[in-house]
């Protein structure tokens, strides 16, 4: 074989360059996060307290879990707008189940099952009925909000078992349980994405769906899995949120789909598909939570947070477009 040295040396450089981009992005995010934390610690009395910090981690954890699920869908060049609504309904379902006497583990499992069902319906609409993901999940967002309010008549569900709330409030080995939940989600998701055939197929489908099909990939199955995973992780976020606030409220998670999407995109996922990782959305979620938390502590009108998040999404997607090669 001619010139084996060239063949061995050059690709390593290319691979390193590609790795470096993702790495640099994550490092930038981490730096930004550190900067914000330092600034808030100096600028407010309350930021660098144990209470606020665990609060920050808990809220960040819930968004991180949603953002990881969202990332799977975004890699297929899709979107899951229903994520926030799933949080609300899942929180309601799990609360109602427990109120009616279902044991806690069973109630949680059933609610996760509900998440699977929602994801299945999304995939069915998108794959079998040919609806654009945007429309399918937007419709589902609206419908799920209605279902949640119907189930509760707009009332909150209080008086949940103490052992349930403990799930989100307690710590194990000195680490908040919610943070452990993130690890329990992130590690298998990372393995799935980067070390399994399914993960490879996910990128292929997001990259070129027809090429994936012609390569013998079962595109339908890949899409089903992505939407089911996203909805199930949102249901998990709903369960954890209900445990954290101690009551079931059907309107919980209003607008969280945008937090999840923003976290994912800030973390380097491309809305054009086929680009994304697991650490990215984790960092993105932490960043957004810090912005929210800091704005509260600085007494900034909370409505500004929405404006900032919106602006951030535009800026990040614009940058994402810039780095795409023009053909």
């Amino acid at each position: 074989m001619p010139e084996p040295l060239v063949a061995v040396g050059a690709p390593a450089v290319a691979a390193r360059r590609r790795l470096r981009f993702a790495f640099l992005l994550n490092l930038t995010l981490l730096g930004l996060l550190g900067l914000m934390w330092a600034g808030l610690s100096l600028g407010t009395d309350s930021f660098a307290t144990f209470g606020n910090f665990t609060n920050l981690l808990r809220q960040g954890s819930i968004w991180a879990i949603m953002a990881v699920g969202q990332t799977f869908v975004i890699i297929t060049a899709g979107i899951d707008l229903s994520a926030g609504a799933v949080v609300g309904v899942a929180g309601t379902v799990v609360a109602l189940l427990m109120k009616s006497g279902v044991p806690v583990p069973l109630a949680i499992l059933a609610t996760l099952g509900f998440g699977v069902a929602v994801g299945w319906v999304h995939a069915f609409g998108i794959v079998r009925m040919g609806l654009p993901p945007f429309i399918m999940t937007l419709a589902s967002l609206t419908a799920l909000r209605g279902i949640g309010l119907l189930m509760t008549n707009g009332q909150t569900i209080a008086g949940l078992p103490a052992e349930f709330s403990a799930l989100a409030r307690d710590s194990s080995f000195g680490i908040p349980n919610l943070f452990l939940a993130v690890i329990a989600v992130a590690v298998p998701c990372h393995l799935l994405l980067h070390h399994s055939r399914w993960g490879r197929h996910l990128y292929a489908v997001g990259s070129n769906r027809e090429a994936a099909r012609l390569s013998g990939i079962r595109v339908t199955r890949v899409l089903y899995l992505a939407y089911i995973l996203s909805a199930t992780l949102s249901a998990l976020a709903g369960i954890l949120t209900t445990a954290r606030i101690g009551i079931g409220v059907a309107t919980t998670g209003d607008g969280w789909e945008l937090q999840a999407i923003a976290s994912s995109v800030i973390g380097g996922a491309s809305l054009f598909g086929a680009v994304g990782s697991v650490p990215g959305p984790l960092l993105g979620a932490m960043l957004l939570t810090t912005i929210n938390n800091g704005a509260n502590l600085l007494n900034i009108n909370p409505f500004w947070q929405r404006i900032v998040t919106g602006g951030l999404i535009v800026a990040i997607v614009y940058l994402d477009q810039l780095r795409r090669p023009k053909r």
């Binding site: 290319a14 990128y203 012609l214």
Partner: protein, 255 residues
């Protein structure tokens, strides 16, 4: 029907294939066949139905009627997976590569190698892909680069390496030189000659007779979804074939 050029049975027979999309007949009752070690060129204008016809063989489309036989046995090809399982590999005009994935990822797409734990064996895939691709194109160095960063010729190398790596018995090449310069086009021609010698049957699809006349053993011409006819290249001139393509007329000499 053409008699067997090598005294063996046909590798592929497509009998009375029809495909319609809505009310339009893209392929209308077409029968073609292919023998081991033979190159059959499928010629016709753009939209004549030649790509559609072979996509039935590669599992991308399903025929509305007709029959496919491999080694004389009727087969059902319902998906690209089925076709690959039968040893049918296709190099698509669009190359059918996943842009954001590197060459080894594309080469093994849908047929990834895994470790005993079920995880992707990226090292093994990279090694095999490097060998397969360098054999075709010694200048190919950017093997870990997403294929969107590669040139047309390099992308073509990936697509061809993918087809060859899995020991195709039947190879479908749809406009294989459309994206290539003269030098690379010659390389593909050399490759076809080598594959032929190994006994692989090749369907070569083109809209340009000059690309295929020297390579093909037989030429099947399609027009408006119908088969104009199949001729042996040695029996006809390029003008005869041009007449078939343009006028849809069979030359007198054709069997």
């Amino acid at each position: 029907m053409t008699s067997s050029p090598m005294g063996v049975g046909p590798l592929v027979e497509m009998r009375n294939i029809s495909i319609h999309f809505g009310g339009i007949k893209a392929v209308d009752d077409v029968s073609i066949d292919l023998y081991p070690g033979e190159v059959v060129a499928l010629l016709g204008h753009n939209g004549a139905g030649k790509s559609t016809l072979v996509k039935v063989l590669s599992g991308a489309y399903r025929a509305n009627s007709g029959q496919i036989l491999i080694d004389g046995r009727t087969v059902e090809i319902g998906s690209p997976r089925d076709a690959k399982a039968l040893g049918i590999e296709t190099i698509y005009q669009t190359l059918a590569l996943a842009e954001n994935i590197d060459a080894p990822g594309n080469l093994f797409l849908g047929r990834e190698l895994t470790t005993p734990w079920g995880t992707l064996d990226d090292a093994a895939m990279e090694h095999a892909a490097r060998q397969a691709i360098l054999e075709l194109n010694p200048n190919f160095t950017r093997i870990k680069e997403p294929v969107k960063n590669l040139s047309g010729g390099q992308r073509q190398s990936v697509a061809i390496a993918r087809a060859l790596h899995f020991k195709a018995r039947i190879l479908i090449m749809d406009e294989p030189t459309a994206a290539l310069g003269p030098h690379e086009t010659r390389q593909v021609a050399d490759l076809i000659t080598r594959l032929k010698a190994k006994g692989i049957g090749i369907f070569l699809i083109s809209h340009d007779i000059h690309d295929v006349f020297s390579l093909a053993d037989r030429i099947s011409v399609m027009k408006n979804g119908k088969l104009v006819g199949t001729v042996r290249t040695q029996d006809v001139t390029q003008d005869d074939v041009l007449g078939m393509i343009i006028l849809g007329k069979r030359p007198k000499i054709a069997a």
